[in-house]
């Protein structure tokens, strides 16, 4: 299939039902609601799609994946990491966990299949990924601007400029948007 006309995508992944696990999804929507990009960027809520993300990884030239990341150093919640996917893959970062078909595995399957985008992972250390709760912890919420800044820097490296939209959306509005969806869904008619 043909590559999409838009060549760059930012995809937020994670489960918004498990507190900070959804940070990538919320960050993607904060980005979409607050910036215009030139050339255009598709900003997507990749949610919990796992292997279905492969389609998106192969459709674009460049992709930023936003996710929560679990690291073993002493990085406190809210710490941001930014790295090419290939760097993480080269480390063989596969633990024998049951989160088998997750982003990393999908990346690796993609590498085997070929035709993958240039993928950058921009991720943040979460505080709470266990509570069944929509919304973010204070430490993640406070540092979210750093994550956004890292995304913008990466886009800048790809010669994409971001212009702030006239009326900014706060994170709290974005989170609330996910909690009260019915009004949104009726407006789609």
């Amino acid at each position: 299939m043909l590559k999409a006309p838009v060549q760059t995508a930012v995809i937020g992944v994670g489960n918004i039902l498990f507190c900070d696990d959804g940070l990538g999804v919320y960050a993607s929507q904060v980005l979409a609601k607050n910036y215009d990009f030139s050339p255009a960027v598709d900003v997507l809520d990749g949610g919990t799609l796992g292997m279905n993300l492969l389609s998106y990884f192969q459709r674009y030239e460049r992709v930023i994946v936003l996710d929560a990341i679990s690291v073993s150093d002493d990085s406190p919640p809210g710490t941001v990491y930014s790295m090419p996917a290939t760097a993480l893959q080269a480390m063989g970062a596969y633990r024998q966990t049951a989160h088998e078909v997750e982003v990393l595995q999908t990346l690796e399957m993609g590498a085997l299949a070929g035709g993958m985008a240039d993928i950058q992972i921009v991720a943040m250390v979460p505080e709470d990924i266990e509570s069944v709760k929509m919304g973010l912890t204070d430490s993640v919420e406070t540092h979210l601007p750093n994550l956004i800044e890292s995304i913008l820097q990466q886009l800048a490296q790809w010669s994409i400029t971001a212009t702030p939209k006239p009326s900014p959306h706060a994170l709290t509005q974005v989170v609330r948007g996910y909690q009260t969806l019915s009004t949104v869904n009726e407006s789609t008619f």
């Binding site: 690291v71 088998e100 709760k133």
Partner: protein
Amino acid sequence: MTQPTAKSQKIIIDPVTRIEGHLRVEVEVDENNQVTEAWASGQLFRGIETILKGRDPRDTGLIAQRICGVCTNSHYRASISSVEDAYQIQIPKNAEIVRNLVSLALFVQDHLVHYYHLHSLDYVDVVSALSADCEKASQIAHQWHDQPYQCSQGDLKAVQQKLADFVAAGRLGLFANGYWGHAQYKLSPEENLIHMNHYLEALRVQRDVSRAIAIFGGKTPHPQNLVVGGVTSVMDMLNPQRLNDYLFVIKDTQAFVKRAYLPDMKMVVAAYGDQIKAGEGRGHGNFMSSGGYAFADGEPLFASGVIWGHDFDQMAEFDERHITEEASRSWYQDAGPTSPYEETTEPDYTDLNADGSLKTEGKYSWIKSPRYQGKPMEVGPAARMIIGYQQNARYIQPYMQQFMETTGMTLLDFSSTIGRNAARAVEAEVVGDMIFKFVSKLIENIKYYDETTWTKYVFEDLPKQTQGRAILEVPRGTLSHFVCIDEAKVSNYQAVVPTTWNASPKDAQGVRGPYEEAIVGLTLADPQQPLEVLRAVHSFDPCLACAVHVMDAKGQPLAEYRVPAMGGVC
């Protein structure tokens, strides 16, 4: 309950890898390495139901779809349908057809991904494929189909080279969970290569199917096409070009199913004939299907019915009122067998033993025990294909008949580890073929100028207090959502999902869940590598993916990628 004796030993498999979610299995084996008892434990709290309480009933679908990244659409549809049922809203024909087109495409996609990417490495030795003779492999492929999918000598050579490069680059991590060299790997190097070739092709095919689904599911990864009352994809539905795009993908997918998936399955059935005939991985033989996906003449694709203890000739009617859930052995407060409408989801975590093992005499799982007339039931493709065959279902019977004739399998053989996979492959073929029938139905309907896709209602006029449910067959089995509404808000919500049926722990009577029953009796060639247990569990296509999705990079030197804090925070 079996007490460990001096001669028995316990094997713990945690996590059971290459499944979606987090599952732990503990088994006891005797001195002959035969499994005498088993405990399957869901290791993650499923509190999704609690998050739906107090919400606008029109919101439940968009939230429930996040329960799982694999079964997104199934939960989305079940949730929306349960609310429609509560409000007695009849959706237009077109909406029903569009919903079916998405659901059925997912059956094919899910079965392909399950077999090739989540399960085949339990049977396929990647390392062995590297030493295959490509010419011979191509000949073998032609023995299983006249036109095997991408199996010329050149195709196979290219795949072998690709795999060799991947292995040489030290990137075997993807396949790191295989017990390679295990005595129970029976395929030849050539057969392994054919499978790996199709493993790679299936990556592309499943990706194309997800694009086809997006034609009706909307532009963003998470679908937004369903709303209470119908579907929103009006323009796409009426656009012949979009329908053509969809059909083009399904056609290619069916070519893969018929020329790769089914022949590969027949190859495995032949290699493991002894295991099938010995009934390896056989469960209680209680099968259940709720049926559904009716065509214009009212004939459903799937037949409904209930079979007890492999007594195939005594088919009972499926009656949803017999569904209960209990939590006597699950980490929730238990009120005995309860109708899902009245059930609660209050955690009562009693922890593990000090050594980290399950407290097998008490509560040991986050999965509840659904029961039908008080009995554990196996749901999924094997149940649907066995029940469909016995009910003489018009669209299933001939496919099963043909598969049984060419492989020598009997109906009882489908109640086994390999049998479940075989049933899944047959189902992929049936469902894929039937998609074309549903599409012609849609085109016909639109021709008669019925372009309605949404039943209008005024939310404020709907009853403030009501309840409803949706019970539908989805790739992994019978899925049901139950919703209670009070003061126009969700007052109670329960989802009884296929994996809950199959992975259920024991009940108050000590009766095992289907996984547990399938595992007991297996003989392990090597207790250190309990491949037979993994195969049995994987054959059910487990999905416990209400798991969190954090990217796990522990143990990796990542300091150089750490981004210094910016801006005026902290």
